[in-house]
Symmetry: C2
Subunit: 244 residues, 2 copies
């Protein structure tokens, strides 16, 4: 087989943040596979088949990519942000476990600007010290594990970034997340809600933990929680490099 | 004043990973400020002054940028990777605290591909589940804090990425880091040492915690520690999306 698979990060939304290697892979692709809104970011052209699928079928998508590559396809699996952060790279390797010879596949992961770093840049530098990245969805892990990680991350005084904080099918979990944070952190802890960063719909809002409400987050929001030293300067939020 | 400051992430090393907004800022710059090896990545041209400085003078560098911008300069502060991750963005906001009107400055942070995500992509998807990013240097925080964060991150079963794991002036801390990990994690825990990722000198090595030695890391290495479920498939390392 001379097909290949590239798992490509499209970045947070602004097309100028797509890297050259990702653009080159898309230019050479015969097939693009991914979640509907991400595939919609790829321009159609002759010789390219776009395979858009709904959420939660990551493993099917990965198996599909392996089949197409086995047949000689040049396959790009697209993720938003970075493909290694709560995205398609892990799903591809999981599907690869079922292959008789995993190393027979020509695979590369092409990194991208992940949402939390674009959000942090728009807000200032809230992740400028040690931090933890947590996916708040319990689709693939028990909620107890999420809650335990939240508590330990707060006790370690990590800044935090939350992906998938809230969805229509999981409206109560971000409410519970704020309760856990209130048990572990002071009321002045700064929280930034960054929605649709780097797109025309970008909306940024920084509030204290006391002021935060569950409705401030939705599925297009990345939530950044400062550590105990995170502070404002002018319109910016940043976490000092120095800690005592 | 009509000067401006951009804090730009040059990415992990490969010039093709520099984003368009960063390239545009460098094209328009009158001054580029940063640590010697990062400024060395910027091509000299007429009308551009390169201000390269040694390590550990981040705050001086930020104050210098503010002075130049006040005088009308178009100043790019360069960091490798992403400027918001253990880099210059926080230092700039710290310096901004001394300004009478912080919001009078035209500032933007331009994100980049941070080393841990480039390293993860080269290795597979070891950060494909919740993870913590920790700077192992104790230049700006007490070592006890680092050790406490390591333990809590391990207890939370976060995958981990370590920046600045080891330097000539701090040879013993990564030794101690491995001891702490051995107290908290099993001997089969996978650790990836990723040196100079995306450059011609890139070297990747994945070993178990039992096999890991301090000499496997230096200042050009990012260390990725899997969580308890991280596994190999073929030549790749990945952390499954699902956790029990």
């Amino acid at each position: 087989m001379n097909g290949w698979i590239r798992v490509a990060g499209l970045g947070p939304g602004d097309e100028s943040l797509v890297t050259d290697p990702v653009r080159a892979a898309l230019d050479q692709a015969t097939d693009v596979i991914g979640y509907i809104p991400y595939v919609a970011r790829v321009a159609p052209r002759p010789g390219l088949t776009l395979h858009a699928s709904d959420n939660r079928v990551e493993l099917d998508r990965a198996a599909h990519a392996l089949r197409l590559a086995r047949e000689g396809g040049h396959v790009v699996i697209v993720s938003s942000g970075d493909p290694g952060v709560f995205a398609m790279a892990s799903a591809l390797f999981e599907a690869l476990e079922a292959e008789p010879d995993p190393d027979a596949h020509d695979i590369a992961i092409l990194p991208g600007i992940t949402a939390m770093l674009a959000a942090a840049a728009a807000a200032g530098a809230p992740l400028g010290h040690d931090f933890a990245a947590i996916n708040l969805s319990d689709n693939l892990k028990p909620w107890d594990m999420v809650e335990r990680r939240l508590r330990l991350a707060a006790q370690a005084d990590f800044a935090m970034a939350f992906y998938n904080p809230r969805s229509k099918s999981r409206p109560h979990q971000f409410t519970r997340t704020l309760e856990v944070l209130r048990e572990e952190c002071g009321p002045d802890r700064l929280i930034t809600f960054a929605r649709a960063v780097t797109t025309p719909e970008q909306a940024l809002r920084t509030v204290t933990l006391a002021e935060a409400t569950p409705e401030m987050a939705d599925m297009r929001t990345v939530v950044l929680v400062g550590n105990s030293a995170t502070r404002r300067v002018g319109r910016w939020v940043y976490t000092p490099r120095r800690a005592e």
